[in-house]
Protein backbone atom coordinates (compact mmCIF):
# COMPACT_ATOMS: atom_id res chain seq x y z
CA UNK A 1 0.00 0.00 0.00
CA UNK A 2 1.41 3.45 -0.91
CA UNK A 3 2.90 5.12 2.16
CA UNK A 4 0.68 8.21 2.12
CA UNK A 5 -2.45 6.11 1.77
CA UNK A 6 -1.46 3.90 4.68
CA UNK A 7 -0.51 6.97 6.75
CA UNK A 8 -3.91 8.60 6.19
CA UNK A 9 -5.55 5.58 7.79
CA UNK A 10 -3.35 5.36 10.90
CA UNK A 11 -5.88 7.24 13.09
CA UNK A 12 -8.40 4.45 12.53
CA UNK A 13 -6.17 1.40 12.12
CA UNK A 14 -3.91 2.26 15.06
CA UNK A 15 -6.02 4.47 17.30
CA UNK A 16 -9.69 3.61 16.55
CA UNK A 17 -10.60 7.25 15.99
CA UNK A 18 -14.24 7.63 14.99
CA UNK A 19 -16.26 10.68 13.97
CA UNK A 20 -19.32 11.31 16.10
CA UNK A 21 -22.01 13.45 14.43
CA UNK A 22 -22.58 16.62 16.45
CA UNK A 23 -26.18 16.81 15.25
CA UNK A 24 -27.53 13.28 15.79
CA UNK A 25 -24.77 11.57 17.78
CA UNK A 26 -24.18 8.70 15.32
CA UNK A 27 -20.69 7.15 15.46
CA UNK A 28 -18.91 6.74 12.12
CA UNK A 29 -15.97 4.39 11.74
CA UNK A 30 -14.21 5.19 9.49
CA UNK A 31 -15.07 8.90 9.68
CA UNK A 32 -17.21 10.47 6.97
CA UNK A 33 -17.64 14.05 5.82
CA UNK A 34 -21.43 13.72 5.69
CA UNK A 35 -23.51 11.84 8.27
CA UNK A 36 -25.55 9.17 6.49
CA UNK A 37 -28.26 9.39 9.14
CA UNK A 38 -28.95 13.15 9.32
CA UNK A 39 -26.69 14.73 6.62
CA UNK A 40 -24.84 16.60 9.37
CA UNK A 41 -21.37 17.86 8.43
CA UNK A 42 -19.86 18.55 11.85
CA UNK A 43 -18.19 15.82 13.84
CA UNK A 44 -16.25 15.31 17.02
CA UNK A 45 -13.30 12.88 16.96
CA UNK A 46 -13.65 10.24 19.66
CA UNK A 47 -11.82 7.01 20.32
CA UNK A 48 -14.04 4.00 19.79
CA UNK A 49 -14.13 1.31 22.45
CA UNK A 50 -12.38 -1.80 21.18
CA UNK A 51 -15.08 -4.25 22.22
CA UNK A 52 -17.83 -5.67 20.05
CA UNK A 53 -20.03 -8.62 19.12
CA UNK A 54 -19.82 -11.02 16.17
CA UNK A 55 -22.76 -10.46 13.78
CA UNK A 56 -21.77 -13.21 11.35
CA UNK A 57 -18.56 -14.98 10.38
CA UNK A 58 -16.98 -17.21 7.74
CA UNK A 59 -13.68 -19.00 7.22
CA UNK A 60 -11.79 -17.86 4.13
CA UNK A 61 -10.01 -20.90 2.66
CA UNK A 62 -9.02 -19.43 -0.71
CA UNK A 63 -7.27 -16.16 0.20
CA UNK A 64 -6.03 -13.17 -1.79
CA UNK A 65 -2.31 -13.34 -2.68
CA UNK A 66 -1.03 -11.25 0.24
CA UNK A 67 -2.91 -13.41 2.77
CA UNK A 68 -1.70 -16.81 1.51
CA UNK A 69 0.47 -17.44 4.55
CA UNK A 70 -2.49 -16.93 6.90
CA UNK A 71 -5.19 -19.11 5.29
CA UNK A 72 -7.49 -20.55 6.36
CA UNK A 73 -8.58 -17.66 8.54
CA UNK A 74 -11.83 -16.44 10.04
CA UNK A 75 -13.43 -13.19 8.90
CA UNK A 76 -16.39 -11.58 10.60
CA UNK A 77 -18.66 -8.61 10.63
CA UNK A 78 -18.40 -7.25 14.15
CA UNK A 79 -20.76 -4.71 15.65
CA UNK A 80 -18.71 -2.48 17.93
CA UNK A 81 -20.16 -1.52 21.29
CA UNK A 82 -20.18 2.15 20.24
CA UNK A 83 -22.34 1.37 17.19
CA UNK A 84 -20.29 1.06 13.99
CA UNK A 85 -19.88 -2.33 12.30
CA UNK A 86 -16.58 -3.43 10.79
CA UNK A 87 -15.20 -6.32 8.74
CA UNK A 88 -12.21 -7.92 10.44
CA UNK A 89 -10.23 -11.09 10.85
CA UNK A 90 -10.80 -13.06 14.02
CA UNK A 91 -7.67 -14.74 15.39
CA UNK A 92 -6.85 -17.13 18.24
CA UNK A 93 -10.33 -18.65 18.04
CA UNK A 94 -12.08 -21.89 18.87
CA UNK A 95 -15.09 -22.89 16.74
CA UNK A 96 -17.72 -21.70 19.26
CA UNK A 97 -16.14 -18.26 19.43
CA UNK A 98 -17.02 -17.54 15.79
CA UNK A 99 -20.72 -17.81 16.49
CA UNK A 100 -23.15 -14.91 16.24
CA UNK A 101 -23.24 -13.07 19.54
CA UNK A 102 -19.67 -13.98 20.57
CA UNK A 103 -17.81 -11.13 22.29
CA UNK A 104 -14.54 -9.95 20.77
CA UNK A 105 -11.93 -7.26 21.35
CA UNK A 106 -9.78 -5.57 18.71
CA UNK A 107 -6.02 -5.93 18.98
CA UNK A 108 -3.16 -4.34 17.06
CA UNK A 109 -1.76 -6.90 14.62
CA UNK A 110 0.20 -7.31 11.41
CA UNK A 111 -2.38 -7.53 8.59
CA UNK A 112 -0.41 -8.14 5.39
CA UNK A 113 2.75 -7.12 3.58
CA UNK A 114 3.36 -5.88 0.08
CA UNK A 115 6.29 -8.20 -0.67
CA UNK A 116 10.01 -7.95 -0.01
CA UNK A 117 10.48 -4.27 -0.78
CA UNK A 118 6.96 -3.21 0.16
CA UNK A 119 5.43 -1.91 3.33
CA UNK A 120 4.13 -4.09 6.12
CA UNK A 121 0.52 -3.18 6.83
CA UNK A 122 -0.67 -3.10 10.42
CA UNK A 123 -4.15 -2.70 11.81
CA UNK A 124 -6.69 -4.45 13.98
CA UNK A 125 -7.84 -8.03 14.26
CA UNK A 126 -10.45 -9.32 16.65
CA UNK A 127 -9.74 -11.84 19.42
CA UNK A 128 -12.41 -13.62 21.42
CA UNK A 129 -12.86 -12.41 25.00
Amino acid sequence: MPTARAWREYPQRYRYEAAVCKKCGKWHFPPRLVCDACKGEEFETRVMRRTGTVVVSTVVRVPPAQFKDQAPYAMAIVRMDDGPSITTQIVDWQEAQLKTGAKVKLEFRRISDDGEAGTINYGYKAVPV
Binding site: P30, R61, V62, F67
Partner: protein, 385 residues
Protein backbone atom coordinates in the same frame (compact mmCIF):
# COMPACT_ATOMS: atom_id res chain seq x y z
CA UNK B 1 -39.46 10.43 -22.48
CA UNK B 2 -39.75 8.27 -25.60
CA UNK B 3 -40.42 4.54 -25.51
CA UNK B 4 -37.30 2.52 -26.36
CA UNK B 5 -36.95 -0.84 -28.08
CA UNK B 6 -34.17 -3.39 -28.46
CA UNK B 7 -33.87 -4.34 -32.12
CA UNK B 8 -30.60 -6.23 -32.28
CA UNK B 9 -28.57 -8.54 -30.06
CA UNK B 10 -25.10 -10.07 -30.24
CA UNK B 11 -23.10 -12.35 -27.99
CA UNK B 12 -19.68 -13.98 -27.98
CA UNK B 13 -19.00 -17.30 -26.35
CA UNK B 14 -18.00 -17.08 -22.70
CA UNK B 15 -14.82 -18.79 -21.61
CA UNK B 16 -11.04 -18.69 -21.61
CA UNK B 17 -10.83 -17.16 -25.05
CA UNK B 18 -7.06 -16.94 -25.48
CA UNK B 19 -7.23 -16.11 -29.17
CA UNK B 20 -9.37 -13.01 -28.66
CA UNK B 21 -8.36 -9.68 -27.13
CA UNK B 22 -10.55 -7.22 -25.25
CA UNK B 23 -11.26 -5.28 -28.44
CA UNK B 24 -11.82 -8.44 -30.52
CA UNK B 25 -14.48 -9.60 -28.10
CA UNK B 26 -16.28 -6.27 -28.06
CA UNK B 27 -16.20 -5.88 -31.83
CA UNK B 28 -17.46 -9.44 -32.39
CA UNK B 29 -20.50 -8.89 -30.16
CA UNK B 30 -21.15 -5.40 -31.53
CA UNK B 31 -20.97 -6.52 -35.16
CA UNK B 32 -23.36 -9.39 -34.44
CA UNK B 33 -25.82 -6.97 -32.84
CA UNK B 34 -25.56 -4.50 -35.72
CA UNK B 35 -26.15 -7.29 -38.25
CA UNK B 36 -28.95 -8.75 -36.15
CA UNK B 37 -30.70 -5.37 -36.15
CA UNK B 38 -29.99 -4.81 -39.82
CA UNK B 39 -28.99 -1.18 -39.33
CA UNK B 40 -26.41 0.78 -41.28
CA UNK B 41 -25.21 3.26 -38.64
CA UNK B 42 -25.28 4.09 -34.93
CA UNK B 43 -25.60 7.51 -33.30
CA UNK B 44 -23.82 6.77 -30.04
CA UNK B 45 -22.30 3.96 -28.05
CA UNK B 46 -21.81 2.84 -24.45
CA UNK B 47 -19.24 0.31 -23.26
CA UNK B 48 -19.94 -1.48 -20.00
CA UNK B 49 -16.70 -2.72 -18.48
CA UNK B 50 -15.64 -3.14 -14.89
CA UNK B 51 -11.87 -3.22 -14.84
CA UNK B 52 -10.06 -3.31 -18.18
CA UNK B 53 -7.37 -1.23 -16.47
CA UNK B 54 -6.51 -4.00 -14.03
CA UNK B 55 -7.25 -6.92 -16.34
CA UNK B 56 -5.40 -5.77 -19.47
CA UNK B 57 -4.00 -2.32 -18.62
CA UNK B 58 -6.34 -0.53 -20.99
CA UNK B 59 -8.70 2.35 -20.19
CA UNK B 60 -10.43 4.77 -22.58
CA UNK B 61 -12.67 2.08 -24.00
CA UNK B 62 -15.23 4.42 -25.60
CA UNK B 63 -12.78 5.69 -28.18
CA UNK B 64 -10.94 2.37 -28.55
CA UNK B 65 -14.10 0.39 -29.33
CA UNK B 66 -15.60 3.06 -31.60
CA UNK B 67 -12.32 3.11 -33.52
CA UNK B 68 -12.00 -0.66 -33.90
CA UNK B 69 -15.68 -1.03 -34.73
CA UNK B 70 -15.15 1.45 -37.56
CA UNK B 71 -17.68 3.79 -35.96
CA UNK B 72 -15.51 6.75 -34.94
CA UNK B 73 -16.40 9.65 -34.67
CA UNK B 74 -19.64 8.62 -32.87
CA UNK B 75 -20.03 9.66 -29.25
CA UNK B 76 -18.81 6.75 -27.15
CA UNK B 77 -18.02 6.35 -23.48
CA UNK B 78 -17.43 3.68 -20.89
CA UNK B 79 -19.83 2.99 -18.02
CA UNK B 80 -18.56 1.41 -14.81
CA UNK B 81 -20.56 0.13 -11.84
CA UNK B 82 -18.45 -2.90 -10.93
CA UNK B 83 -20.27 -6.13 -11.86
CA UNK B 84 -23.33 -4.02 -12.77
CA UNK B 85 -21.39 -2.14 -15.46
CA UNK B 86 -23.29 -3.86 -18.27
CA UNK B 87 -26.70 -3.16 -16.77
CA UNK B 88 -25.71 0.42 -16.03
CA UNK B 89 -24.50 0.84 -19.64
CA UNK B 90 -27.85 -0.49 -20.88
CA UNK B 91 -29.61 2.06 -18.71
CA UNK B 92 -27.41 4.88 -20.07
CA UNK B 93 -28.22 3.81 -23.62
CA UNK B 94 -31.90 3.58 -22.73
CA UNK B 95 -31.86 7.13 -21.29
CA UNK B 96 -29.96 8.41 -24.33
CA UNK B 97 -32.68 7.16 -26.69
CA UNK B 98 -35.57 7.95 -24.32
CA UNK B 99 -34.39 11.54 -23.94
CA UNK B 100 -34.38 12.07 -27.68
CA UNK B 101 -30.65 12.82 -27.75
CA UNK B 102 -29.86 9.79 -29.94
CA UNK B 103 -31.91 7.50 -32.15
CA UNK B 104 -29.81 4.40 -32.68
CA UNK B 105 -27.57 3.43 -29.79
CA UNK B 106 -25.22 0.49 -29.40
CA UNK B 107 -24.76 -0.76 -25.85
CA UNK B 108 -22.00 -3.31 -25.41
CA UNK B 109 -20.44 -4.94 -22.41
CA UNK B 110 -17.08 -6.65 -22.28
CA UNK B 111 -14.51 -8.13 -19.92
CA UNK B 112 -11.22 -9.85 -20.69
CA UNK B 113 -10.30 -11.57 -17.44
CA UNK B 114 -8.04 -14.48 -18.31
CA UNK B 115 -4.93 -12.58 -19.45
CA UNK B 116 -3.97 -12.27 -15.77
CA UNK B 117 -3.38 -14.86 -13.05
CA UNK B 118 -6.14 -15.96 -10.71
CA UNK B 119 -4.57 -13.82 -7.96
CA UNK B 120 -4.61 -10.72 -10.13
CA UNK B 121 -8.20 -11.40 -11.18
CA UNK B 122 -9.20 -11.85 -7.53
CA UNK B 123 -7.56 -8.51 -6.74
CA UNK B 124 -9.37 -6.75 -9.58
CA UNK B 125 -12.73 -8.16 -8.51
CA UNK B 126 -12.11 -7.19 -4.89
CA UNK B 127 -11.99 -3.53 -5.95
CA UNK B 128 -15.79 -3.72 -6.16
CA UNK B 129 -15.84 -3.92 -2.36
CA UNK B 130 -14.59 -1.22 0.00
CA UNK B 131 -10.84 -1.58 -0.55
CA UNK B 132 -9.83 0.24 2.61
CA UNK B 133 -12.39 -1.08 5.09
CA UNK B 134 -13.31 -4.54 3.77
CA UNK B 135 -10.65 -5.97 1.44
CA UNK B 136 -7.73 -4.57 3.52
CA UNK B 137 -8.45 -7.07 6.29
CA UNK B 138 -8.40 -10.11 3.99
CA UNK B 139 -12.03 -10.61 3.01
CA UNK B 140 -12.62 -11.89 -0.53
CA UNK B 141 -15.72 -11.62 -2.68
CA UNK B 142 -16.71 -15.22 -2.02
CA UNK B 143 -16.05 -14.35 1.64
CA UNK B 144 -18.51 -11.45 1.58
CA UNK B 145 -21.22 -13.54 -0.07
CA UNK B 146 -20.41 -16.30 2.42
CA UNK B 147 -21.23 -13.86 5.22
CA UNK B 148 -24.55 -13.09 3.53
CA UNK B 149 -25.21 -16.82 3.13
CA UNK B 150 -24.40 -17.44 6.79
CA UNK B 151 -26.83 -14.70 7.83
CA UNK B 152 -29.56 -16.04 5.51
CA UNK B 153 -29.05 -19.61 6.73
CA UNK B 154 -29.13 -18.50 10.33
CA UNK B 155 -32.32 -16.48 10.03
CA UNK B 156 -34.31 -18.51 7.49
CA UNK B 157 -32.84 -22.00 7.85
CA UNK B 158 -31.71 -21.89 4.24
CA UNK B 159 -29.55 -24.98 3.62
CA UNK B 160 -26.37 -25.80 1.71
CA UNK B 161 -28.45 -28.17 -0.41
CA UNK B 162 -30.72 -25.27 -1.40
CA UNK B 163 -27.68 -23.19 -2.36
CA UNK B 164 -26.42 -26.14 -4.39
CA UNK B 165 -29.80 -26.45 -6.11
CA UNK B 166 -29.20 -23.03 -7.70
CA UNK B 167 -25.96 -24.24 -9.28
CA UNK B 168 -27.56 -27.52 -10.39
CA UNK B 169 -30.46 -25.72 -12.09
CA UNK B 170 -28.25 -23.14 -13.76
CA UNK B 171 -25.87 -25.76 -15.11
CA UNK B 172 -28.85 -27.74 -16.44
CA UNK B 173 -29.95 -24.58 -18.29
CA UNK B 174 -26.43 -23.73 -19.38
CA UNK B 175 -26.07 -27.19 -20.91
CA UNK B 176 -28.68 -26.03 -23.45
CA UNK B 177 -26.84 -22.79 -24.25
CA UNK B 178 -24.19 -22.93 -26.99
CA UNK B 179 -22.55 -19.76 -25.57
CA UNK B 180 -22.09 -21.21 -22.08
CA UNK B 181 -18.62 -21.58 -20.57
CA UNK B 182 -19.51 -24.60 -18.41
CA UNK B 183 -22.38 -26.46 -20.05
CA UNK B 184 -21.91 -29.42 -17.72
CA UNK B 185 -24.70 -31.12 -15.83
CA UNK B 186 -23.87 -31.29 -12.12
CA UNK B 187 -25.58 -32.70 -9.04
CA UNK B 188 -26.19 -31.38 -5.54
CA UNK B 189 -23.54 -33.81 -4.26
CA UNK B 190 -21.02 -32.50 -6.80
CA UNK B 191 -21.49 -29.03 -5.32
CA UNK B 192 -21.36 -30.19 -1.70
CA UNK B 193 -18.25 -32.29 -2.35
CA UNK B 194 -16.39 -29.52 -4.16
CA UNK B 195 -13.65 -27.49 -2.49
CA UNK B 196 -14.78 -25.05 0.19
CA UNK B 197 -13.87 -21.46 -0.73
CA UNK B 198 -15.41 -19.58 2.20
CA UNK B 199 -17.83 -21.41 4.47
CA UNK B 200 -20.57 -22.24 3.43
CA UNK B 201 -19.73 -21.54 -0.24
CA UNK B 202 -18.03 -24.28 -2.27
CA UNK B 203 -16.22 -23.62 -5.52
CA UNK B 204 -19.35 -24.84 -7.37
CA UNK B 205 -21.39 -22.16 -5.57
CA UNK B 206 -19.25 -19.53 -7.35
CA UNK B 207 -19.42 -18.13 -10.87
CA UNK B 208 -16.27 -18.51 -12.97
CA UNK B 209 -13.70 -16.06 -14.33
CA UNK B 210 -14.59 -15.49 -17.97
CA UNK B 211 -13.82 -13.60 -21.14
CA UNK B 212 -16.78 -12.47 -23.20
CA UNK B 213 -18.85 -9.68 -24.64
CA UNK B 214 -22.47 -8.89 -25.42
CA UNK B 215 -24.20 -6.08 -27.29
CA UNK B 216 -27.68 -4.74 -28.02
CA UNK B 217 -29.01 -2.10 -30.40
CA UNK B 218 -31.60 0.35 -29.09
CA UNK B 219 -33.90 2.67 -31.02
CA UNK B 220 -37.13 4.64 -30.44
CA UNK B 221 -40.01 2.16 -30.14
CA UNK B 222 -42.00 3.92 -32.86
CA UNK B 223 -39.19 3.23 -35.34
CA UNK B 224 -38.58 -0.34 -34.19
CA UNK B 225 -41.03 -2.11 -36.46
CA UNK B 226 -39.73 -0.42 -39.61
CA UNK B 227 -36.06 -0.82 -38.65
CA UNK B 228 -36.15 -4.28 -37.16
CA UNK B 229 -36.18 -7.59 -38.98
CA UNK B 230 -37.11 -9.45 -35.78
CA UNK B 231 -39.86 -9.05 -33.20
CA UNK B 232 -38.89 -5.85 -31.40
CA UNK B 233 -38.76 -5.88 -27.63
CA UNK B 234 -39.65 -2.76 -25.66
CA UNK B 235 -37.83 -1.66 -22.48
CA UNK B 236 -40.90 -0.93 -20.38
CA UNK B 237 -39.09 -0.35 -17.09
CA UNK B 238 -35.59 0.69 -16.06
CA UNK B 239 -34.53 1.12 -12.45
CA UNK B 240 -31.26 1.63 -10.67
CA UNK B 241 -30.41 2.05 -7.00
CA UNK B 242 -27.41 2.00 -4.68
CA UNK B 243 -26.69 0.83 -1.14
CA UNK B 244 -23.74 1.15 1.24
CA UNK B 245 -20.49 0.05 -0.40
CA UNK B 246 -19.51 -2.02 2.65
CA UNK B 247 -21.64 -5.03 3.50
CA UNK B 248 -21.02 -4.39 7.21
CA UNK B 249 -22.83 -1.04 7.03
CA UNK B 250 -26.15 -2.62 6.00
CA UNK B 251 -28.99 -2.80 8.48
CA UNK B 252 -29.96 -6.30 7.35
CA UNK B 253 -27.41 -8.69 5.83
CA UNK B 254 -30.18 -10.92 4.46
CA UNK B 255 -31.71 -8.17 2.29
CA UNK B 256 -30.60 -6.59 -0.96
CA UNK B 257 -32.28 -3.21 -0.57
CA UNK B 258 -30.81 -1.68 -3.73
CA UNK B 259 -32.24 -4.57 -5.76
CA UNK B 260 -35.65 -4.10 -4.16
CA UNK B 261 -35.56 -0.36 -4.87
CA UNK B 262 -34.34 -0.72 -8.46
CA UNK B 263 -37.05 -3.31 -9.07
CA UNK B 264 -39.72 -1.11 -7.48
CA UNK B 265 -38.79 1.71 -9.87
CA UNK B 266 -38.88 -0.63 -12.87
CA UNK B 267 -42.19 -2.25 -11.82
CA UNK B 268 -43.75 1.19 -11.28
CA UNK B 269 -42.62 2.53 -14.65
CA UNK B 270 -43.80 -0.62 -16.43
CA UNK B 271 -47.07 -0.88 -14.45
CA UNK B 272 -46.17 -4.49 -13.70
CA UNK B 273 -46.06 -6.68 -10.61
CA UNK B 274 -43.74 -9.62 -9.91
CA UNK B 275 -46.34 -12.18 -11.04
CA UNK B 276 -46.36 -10.56 -14.52
CA UNK B 277 -42.73 -11.57 -15.13
CA UNK B 278 -42.48 -14.81 -17.14
CA UNK B 279 -38.71 -15.20 -17.43
CA UNK B 280 -35.88 -13.53 -15.53
CA UNK B 281 -32.10 -13.33 -15.68
CA UNK B 282 -30.58 -12.55 -12.28
CA UNK B 283 -27.09 -11.90 -10.99
CA UNK B 284 -26.10 -15.29 -9.56
CA UNK B 285 -22.43 -14.46 -8.96
CA UNK B 286 -22.81 -16.87 -6.03
CA UNK B 287 -25.67 -19.29 -5.42
CA UNK B 288 -26.84 -17.34 -2.36
CA UNK B 289 -27.13 -14.23 -4.54
CA UNK B 290 -29.77 -15.84 -6.74
CA UNK B 291 -31.81 -16.85 -3.70
CA UNK B 292 -31.63 -13.38 -2.14
CA UNK B 293 -32.36 -11.65 -5.45
CA UNK B 294 -35.39 -13.86 -6.14
CA UNK B 295 -36.76 -12.60 -2.83
CA UNK B 296 -35.76 -8.96 -3.41
CA UNK B 297 -37.50 -8.93 -6.80
CA UNK B 298 -40.72 -10.05 -5.10
CA UNK B 299 -40.98 -13.50 -6.70
CA UNK B 300 -40.88 -15.18 -3.29
CA UNK B 301 -41.43 -14.16 0.28
CA UNK B 302 -38.31 -13.33 2.28
CA UNK B 303 -36.66 -16.52 3.43
CA UNK B 304 -38.53 -18.70 0.90
CA UNK B 305 -36.08 -18.36 -1.98
CA UNK B 306 -34.13 -21.46 -1.00
CA UNK B 307 -37.21 -23.61 -0.89
CA UNK B 308 -38.38 -22.16 -4.22
CA UNK B 309 -35.30 -23.27 -6.11
CA UNK B 310 -35.26 -26.66 -4.41
CA UNK B 311 -38.87 -27.35 -5.42
CA UNK B 312 -38.30 -26.34 -9.05
CA UNK B 313 -40.23 -23.05 -9.00
CA UNK B 314 -37.35 -21.29 -10.78
CA UNK B 315 -36.61 -24.02 -13.34
CA UNK B 316 -37.77 -23.79 -16.96
CA UNK B 317 -41.43 -24.82 -16.70
CA UNK B 318 -41.66 -23.60 -13.11
CA UNK B 319 -43.56 -20.61 -11.68
CA UNK B 320 -40.84 -18.12 -12.68
CA UNK B 321 -37.94 -19.52 -14.73
CA UNK B 322 -34.73 -17.86 -13.55
CA UNK B 323 -31.44 -17.83 -15.46
CA UNK B 324 -32.51 -19.83 -18.50
CA UNK B 325 -29.15 -18.90 -20.06
CA UNK B 326 -27.32 -20.81 -17.34
CA UNK B 327 -26.75 -17.59 -15.45
CA UNK B 328 -23.39 -16.27 -14.40
CA UNK B 329 -22.76 -19.67 -12.85
CA UNK B 330 -22.81 -21.80 -16.02
CA UNK B 331 -22.95 -19.37 -18.92
CA UNK B 332 -19.99 -17.48 -17.44
CA UNK B 333 -19.40 -14.08 -15.86
CA UNK B 334 -17.32 -11.72 -18.01
CA UNK B 335 -18.12 -9.04 -15.47
CA UNK B 336 -18.77 -5.96 -17.62
CA UNK B 337 -20.59 -8.02 -20.25
CA UNK B 338 -22.97 -9.74 -17.87
CA UNK B 339 -25.68 -7.07 -17.61
CA UNK B 340 -25.90 -6.79 -21.39
CA UNK B 341 -25.75 -10.57 -21.90
CA UNK B 342 -28.77 -10.89 -19.59
CA UNK B 343 -30.73 -8.56 -21.88
CA UNK B 344 -29.63 -10.61 -24.91
CA UNK B 345 -31.02 -13.77 -23.29
CA UNK B 346 -34.35 -12.14 -22.43
CA UNK B 347 -34.71 -10.71 -25.95
CA UNK B 348 -34.03 -14.19 -27.38
CA UNK B 349 -36.67 -15.61 -25.03
CA UNK B 350 -39.28 -12.97 -25.96
CA UNK B 351 -38.55 -13.45 -29.65
CA UNK B 352 -39.13 -17.17 -29.16
CA UNK B 353 -35.61 -17.98 -30.31
CA UNK B 354 -34.07 -19.54 -27.22
CA UNK B 355 -34.11 -23.07 -28.63
CA UNK B 356 -33.99 -25.92 -26.11
CA UNK B 357 -34.22 -23.49 -23.19
CA UNK B 358 -37.24 -21.56 -24.52
CA UNK B 359 -39.87 -20.57 -21.96
CA UNK B 360 -43.22 -21.22 -23.64
CA UNK B 361 -45.13 -18.07 -24.66
CA UNK B 362 -42.87 -15.69 -22.77
CA UNK B 363 -43.83 -12.08 -23.54
CA UNK B 364 -42.57 -10.23 -20.45
CA UNK B 365 -39.09 -10.68 -19.02
CA UNK B 366 -36.73 -9.08 -16.54
CA UNK B 367 -33.00 -8.60 -16.06
CA UNK B 368 -31.33 -7.91 -12.71
CA UNK B 369 -27.64 -7.02 -12.54
CA UNK B 370 -25.71 -5.96 -9.44
CA UNK B 371 -22.30 -4.74 -8.42
CA UNK B 372 -20.27 -5.62 -5.36
CA UNK B 373 -22.37 -7.12 -2.59
CA UNK B 374 -25.44 -5.40 -4.03
CA UNK B 375 -24.25 -1.80 -3.61
CA UNK B 376 -25.26 -1.14 -7.21
CA UNK B 377 -28.38 -2.71 -8.68
CA UNK B 378 -29.97 -2.33 -12.10
CA UNK B 379 -33.29 -3.86 -13.13
CA UNK B 380 -34.92 -3.78 -16.57
CA UNK B 381 -38.32 -5.09 -17.62
CA UNK B 382 -38.69 -6.05 -21.28
CA UNK B 383 -41.87 -6.77 -23.21
CA UNK B 384 -42.43 -8.14 -26.69
CA UNK B 385 -44.06 -5.50 -28.92
Amino acid sequence: MRDVAIIGVGLTKCGELWEQSLRDLYVEAALKAIKNAGIDHIDSMYVGCMSSGLFVGQEHLGALMADYLGQAPVAATRVESACASGGAALRMGYLDVASGASDIVLVGGVEKMTDVSGDAATYALATASDQEWEAFGGITFPGLYALMAMAHMERYKTTSRQLAAVAVKNHANGAKNPAAQFPAIITVDDVLNSVMVADPLHILDCSPISDGAAAVILCPADQAKTLCQHLPVKIVGSGMATDTIALHSRKDLTSLDAVTKAAAAAYRQASKVPSDIQVCEVHDCFTIAEIMVSEALGFFEKGKGGNAVETGATAIGGKIPINTSGGLKAKGHPVGATGVAQAVEIVEQLRGGAGARQVAKARIGMTQNMGGTGASAVVHILEAM
